[in-house]
């Protein structure tokens, strides 16, 4: 692009506690361009954009915005200059209305007693122009995640932002909402706005971006035109090596023939219902997972996934329904007894209920093995055996650590997750409930987690994979169903016949009732 860039960032450096997060990054955005900033977690994408938006000050480097040098600015100045950012965690006030959120911090006509009805009309006009459907009078608390994101974008457009920075905007959206978002961004582009898209999803970048800048370990690896880029090429740039294909097809098929295990499912739920608390419950959820099968449950977070996982683990007691492990009912059994029956659980929130962050690796490893006579005898812990066991797990699962006595909170997210897998999977469980097992992990660690799950599948475990990441489910699951507002759709075989359009609609709740009737 020879046209003078709208934005030019030159040689940006920023360190946190001596660790460089941005190591001399240069970056351009042209007018009316959608520029993707691609990279793994910790590659420095968000730091770079926070510097541009004025949340952090760069240690060195220069920013030229529409021909003028920017520096020492805060978010307020950035907005005034026409730079707007939608953060990963939305910056909305849930108790205020959409309109109040959009005009927050502005001195509207009549300040401090603005004419709300007039502002609402202005907002509706603007939303029609960009195809952003919002109701100005609605309280933000009542909106879905996708709607909240539209409010965030409206906030920027209302402030006349010329450059929109979006930090991982699709992480929280259903496929349908994602398409909607990119339609809106295309409209913005058509009206002369530029967009910076921070993401680690290669497929989106290829479909929607004009140019792509890849960051790795705080440095720029490449900037290329999206037209000539390939998925394989981009992933190699991102992680610095070639990615092994995580596809289920390459893993050996279940060594246990299904007939050998009989008709007995490894894990079966029959009409599990849970009375809704705060709108989240389960309505007659039924499924079965055969040995050597990965059964996927798709859906946007907060549709009963947590409740379902906790029912399986025994933390919650369903109001009705039956739960069978290997054909035997497990009613009345607590988590510990269920684990004795061969259940392993990988939590979606490793900091909350996966690990004790202040404990060292050996102690966290022990948490799952308190019944194991190798480690605990007569109620006393054999510390040496624990250290040995943890040491073995560290080696087997490639946990990067200084040793089994290091505190778990000092590990990276990926290594913490590896430790959980080591603890949960090393005993060869018959049933695995994996709830968002790759959440917040980078590609390398995700690949590792997926390989372990496929290994267990090959070894004959029944794996239930609950995830909001469609790519993960499509790559791993043999069959999958969609959970929406506590109801589970019928299961679909994950092969060529899978209708993605239908899955996307189900995730948004459309067609759920008919599906349930048809089944």
């Amino acid at each position: 692009m020879v046209v003078p860039a709208m934005l030019a960032m030159r040689d940006i450096r920023k360190s946190f506690a001596g660790v460089p997060a941005n190591d001399g990054i240069s970056f351009d955005v042209g007018e009316g361009e959608i520029h993707a900033l691609l990279g793994e977690n910790g590659a420095g994408k968000t730091t770079l954009m926070n510097i541009l938006y004025g949340i952090y000050a760069a240690d060195s480097g220069s920013i030229v915005w529409r021909g003028e040098v920017l520096g020492g600015h805060g978010p307020k100045e950035a907005i005034a200059q026409g730079i707007g950012m939608v953060h990963q965690h939305f910056m909305l006030v849930p108790t205020l209305s959409v309109s109040e959120n959009i005009t927050l911090g502005l001195k509207s006509r009549g300040h401090p007693f603005p004419d709300r009805r007039r502002l609402d009309t202005d907002i509706l006009e603007l939303s029609a122009r960009y195809g952003l459907d919002v109701d100005p009078a609605a309280k933000v608390a009542s909106l879905s995640v996708g709607e909240r994101q539209r409010v965030e974008i409206m906030k920027l457009l209302y402030r006349d932002a010329r450059l929109l920075i979006l930090d991982e905007p699709t992480a929280v959206l259903t496929p349908g909402e994602t398409d909607g978002l990119f339609r809106v961004l295309a409209t913005c582009k058509g009206q002369g706005h530029s967009v910076i898209l921070i993401t680690h999803r290669i497929s989106e970048v290829l479909a929607f971006a004009d140019r792509i800048t890849v960051l790795r370990d705080g440095a720029r690896v490449a900037t290329l035109e999206a037209a000539g880029a390939t998925a394989a090429g981009l992933s190699t740039l991102m992680i610095g090596r070639e990615l092994k294909s995580p596809a289920r097809r390459t893993a050996p098929a279940a060594s246990l023939p299904r007939s050998a295990a009989g008709d007995r499912a490894g894990l079966e739920a029959r009409a599990i219902s849970l009375r809704p608390v705060a709108g989240k419950g389960l309505q007659s959820v039924s499924f079965s997972v055969a040995p050597g099968e990965i059964f996927g449950i798709a859906g946007v977070d907060g549709n009963g996934q947590k409740e379902l996982a906790e029912c399986l683990l025994g933390l919650r007691i369903p109001d009705s329904g039956k739960l069978l492990f290997g054909g035997l009912p497990v009613e009345g059994l607590g988590p510990r007894q269920r684990k004795r029956r061969g259940l392993a659980y990988v939590s979606d929130d490793r900091h909350h209920d996966g690990l004790v962050l202040g404990f060292d690796l050996a102690e966290n490893y022990l948490l799952g093995k308190l019944d194991d006579p190798r480690f605990v005898r007569f109620g006393l812990v054999d510390r040496k055996a624990c250290l040995r066991g943890a040491g073995g797990a560290i080696a087997d699962y490639h946990v990067k650590t200084r040793g089994p006595t290091e505190e778990v909170r000092l590990l990276s997210g990926g290594n913490q997750q590896k430790l959980i897998l080591a603890r949960e999977l090393s005993s060869g469980p018959a049933i695995i409930v994996a709830f968002q097992p790759a959440r917040g992990l980078d590609i390398g660690a995700t690949e590792f987690v997926h390989e372990r799950l496929l290994e267990r599948r090959a070894a004959g475990s029944s794996v239930l994979l609950i995830s909001s990441d469609m790519d993960e489910l499509l790559g791993l699951a043999d069959r999958l169903a969609v959970l929406h507002r506590g109801r589970l759709s019928p299961a679909y075989d994950n092969d060529g016949s899978l209708d993605m359009m239908r899955i996307g609609l189900l995730m948004g709740g459309q067609g759920m009732a008919e599906e349930a009737c048809a089944s």
């Binding site: 978010p75 005034a80 910056m91 909305l92 006030v93 849930p94 108790t95 205020l96 911090g105 401090p112």
Partner: protein
Amino acid sequence: MSDTQGFAALLGELSTFAAASVRMAAPLLIAGLGEAISETAGILNIGLEGIMLSGAFAAFIVAWATQNVWLGIMAGIAGGMLASLLHALLGVGRRADQTITGLALNFLASGLTSYFFLMAFGRTTSLPECPVLPAVEIPLLSSIPFFGPVLFSQNPFVYFAFVATGLVWLLFRRSEWGVILHAAGENPHAADSAGLDVIRTRYVAAAANGCFGGLAGASITLGTLGFFMENVTSGKGYIALVVVILGRRQPFGVALAALLLGAADALQFRMQTGNSGIPSQVFIMFPYLMTVIVLLFSIGKTRDPASLGIPFDRGRR
């Protein structure tokens, strides 16, 4: 014949009682409105008792020295603001724990005012007196039967309390400033990223709280008593905190709650003078007992601002 006389007497009793309830409610309402502003902006200031006590003392000492009630009121406002801004300096500016700071403020105000009072007057048996703001009968309205004496023959603090309720409602519900206060208390990071100054907003809210709380304190010494003594506010600041929770930080809710607890206080006074033979301490307990009961039934029904009591720090999310 005797029936109508009896009815008139009962109505008179009721009207006196209602008037006393309204008078007792005024300091709770004024202080409660201030605290509602503060909490809406995200500052939990349980030092309200200290603010009121500072206001009560400053108002008294200046009114006593100058023999001018209006100067006393101004001093009361200043005293309350000083106490509240001290809390804000620590709990907003230095990000200290707001609950502990509020607690400390209560003890500090209690000790300091008693000490200054002792310094100024020594140990006296006769309490030094200051001028009192007289009740103002509002022409025409005060002659309405029943409502006249209850609502329109009160001291100016009572009138202020009711006008202020409407003004705070306007602030919360109709003005952009109210939106900004809500944003600062609910999601300060959102307010910050919208270019608002969260810290300044909270200081302003704290100043408003001090202004109202100081005035509430002044209303005790200059509105009804005409003198000062140790801990003259006698826990009204704490009751005002209950009023805020009960009224869900909404001005009219706070007003209703203040009237309810004001009535409990008035009832207590009447029963004390009723010669029932029951020790007076039992009756003094009554408003506090009422407070506990009321709190018991309101548990779980209020929703606090999401960032209430959490100091704002831009770097922390």
